[in-house]
Point group: none
DNA sequence: GTGGTCTAGACCACC
DNA sequence: GTGGTCTAGACCACG
């Protein structure tokens, strides 16, 4: 069965995600956070879902304390929302969170642009090519993935560990955003060209134009999401 | 007696910092992190100092586990360095960390500049005035504090919670940096003019110039620190 | 426009008091008690007002159980009156409550005088000065606040935690008293001199005279309130 | 068997105290507080003892929540000490607590003296007579009880409910103090004369002398306890 | 009843 | 021996 025959792939269950990972209790905290992060960004956990500590700890086969440490990590990534004495919930991105997220992305990506020297960027070129292949084959998830790859690599090219760390977290949040709304098949298509244009500006060393272009690009993207929340 | 020996007070001991806070075991983790953060930024703990878990836990009157959570928080703020199976050390900012820190600051402050509208900024003006008072009275710590205030408020003016949170953490790291090197009395003096110039660019709405000016400003500052490490 | 309409600001609403505090439900009981205490002492809740548990719990965004705990605290401070099976009411100080309150104040302040050593009391001097400024500017609330400050600090100077705790609570009740009757602009004026005289007796170490003076002072004050209830 | 044959009477057990009260669960909180207060002041619970919530709730046949409310009341009476996240302990009076307690007693009893009119005080006379009987029969606990009665009635004579309420609580704390140290058989003997002298001063309306005498009286008593802690 | 915090203690791995 | 991780269990606080 071709997974692409449906543009909205069937979401996996939390149990299946647990099953396909190795419950090696040596690093249970990191493992639990990974499982939950995957579950969230793959749509196995709907935004707003309440996560019961006791039940989930038992389901994952870890102690409540360990699970709470995982929650702490996920909360700092804005993937979960903690309401004191009420519980932990899968984040439901609102207009404010979207605005904050894109503000951070703009700062990070602009900061990266500042640091990137002119010249050919093979890795970006490869990702653009990849995008075009996915677009041709109609793979929405492929395009989405390539788009994320592009922006991740853009920041990684800056050589700054901190910017990169923050960007990786921001992109995980983006994935949550994708799953929190109805998928629109051609949403990612225009990004192929936008990314390509941005790449050209970068290679040409035209930082000012790249910055301005990125700002408008992200602003329109943010507006798109904000309108659908 | 050298006036600088009084304007730079003798560093407090860790015990004195513990004593002047209330060791109310209701929020021991946060309390311990605060105590250690204060100790570090006040110079009670020299960079590179190894912190023994067992000894420190007993000194603070908390359990090892709680202390470790405080370490985790401080490590994420780059105030401490964890070496697996070796221990936790007060961070010794090296050239790389300084570079990373200023890279992040540039991204955050530039991102903030993008969001700040033109027009008078009373809070920045007040801080600038404050700086001048401190400079006139020869208060090095006063100038340093006002400089931090200026950049903190600059980012706060953006209205972005995330940029602000990251900036607050970055400035705590800056304080560690100050204490990790010999104080140079007139180090902060030129910042008064630089900040004032930056403020004028902001108020005029000249974002591009502000960005360029900030970049050079931070670059020279980073170089200053990197040369003294 | 009557200057007193401005120097006595319009009483805030309960909602506005709720809004300006951070409803961080981590310590909802304490928070609710604080909000209600503030509302009462600022006049947002008139004496005698019945407080509906259900409605108030919803308005504050907390559960009824939590609200009841706050009521318990406020009742022990004599700021609220509980009538079994009838409900909770904002205390309506009567002659007896006024008499009891001033009896307690006399005991506490006399007890404090016993413990205070002779010698200059800078903090009291500062408060007296403050009173005079407020009197000159015609600020009734300023004078009232300074008067409270004077007596609070008088007890604090004793160094006894228990006397201090009881005094703080008694002064909160005093504020309720102020708001339960029509404001008389020049009510607080004579207190400036009385407090100053008391301070001089204290500084001179004349405890007996101070005690006698305080007794008459509080008796006349109590009579004033009792006559207007 | 004459209970007075031993100057240190056998302490009752908590269970026996529970048994002799009526477990009327209409006011379980108050009942539980009474049981615990009695247990503490009769020596059934040694100072420093940790009170386990779960175990004690079951032993008393009440819910943990109810028990916690009782703890709250007892803590406010300084009979128990709460260490956040550690538990509740029977208070272990230290020098500071003793000093605070006697400071409060002085304030309350002096405040009462201020309010008491001259003239014969039959109730005090009766208590003094009672003391003498106990002293003659060598009943230490009888003397102790009569001493407490004398001071309680002294404050009650003031007619102030608040002073009385605070005094009752202070005397309960005094009983805890008696049980926290080795009994000294003739400790209470001199109080018979002291109380009698104080009574005479009161009846003569000599408030100033009564106040001075009381102050020295309580100071020596406080010193006695403080030295034995 | 559930979440929030801390403590104690176990086990393993590295030095 | 010291750090790294997890578990168990207690108390704290809101619902």
């Amino acid at each position: 069965m071709n997974p692409e025959t449906t543009s909205i792939p069937l979401v996996p269950t939390l149990d299946s995600i647990v099953a396909r990972s190795t419950p090696d209790h040596a690093f249970a905290t990191k493992w639990a956070a990974d499982v939950l992060r995957t579950a969230m960004t793959e749509g196995a956990l709907d935004p707003g879902t309440k996560l019961s500590e006791a039940a989930l700890a038992q389901q994952l086969g870890i102690s409540r304390n360990t699970l709470r440490q995982a929650f702490t990590a996920l909360e700092s990534e804005h993937l979960m929302t903690r309401v004191p004495n009420r519980g932990v919930f899968v984040a439901t991105p609102g207009k404010k969170q979207i605005h904050e997220l894109f503000t951070l992305r703009l700062a990070l990506e602009s900061g990266a642009i500042d640091l990137i020297s002119a010249g050919e960027k093979p890795i970006l070129r490869r990702i653009i090519e990849q995008s075009k292949v996915h677009r041709a084959s109609g793979s929405v998830s492929g395009m989405a993935g390539a788009n994320q790859d592009f922006h991740r690599e853009l920041v990684r090219l800056s050589g700054s560990e901190r910017l990169n760390t923050l960007m990786v977290s921001a992109l995980a949040e983006m994935r949550l955003l994708f799953h929190s709304m109805v998928a629109v098949p051609d949403f990612h298509s225009p990004f192929v060209e936008k990314n390509e244009h941005l790449m050209h500006l970068l290679e040409a060393g035209d930082k000012y134009e790249a910055h301005v272009y990125l700002r408008d690009y992200l602003a329109s993207s943010a507006a798109y999401f904000a309108d659908r929340v």
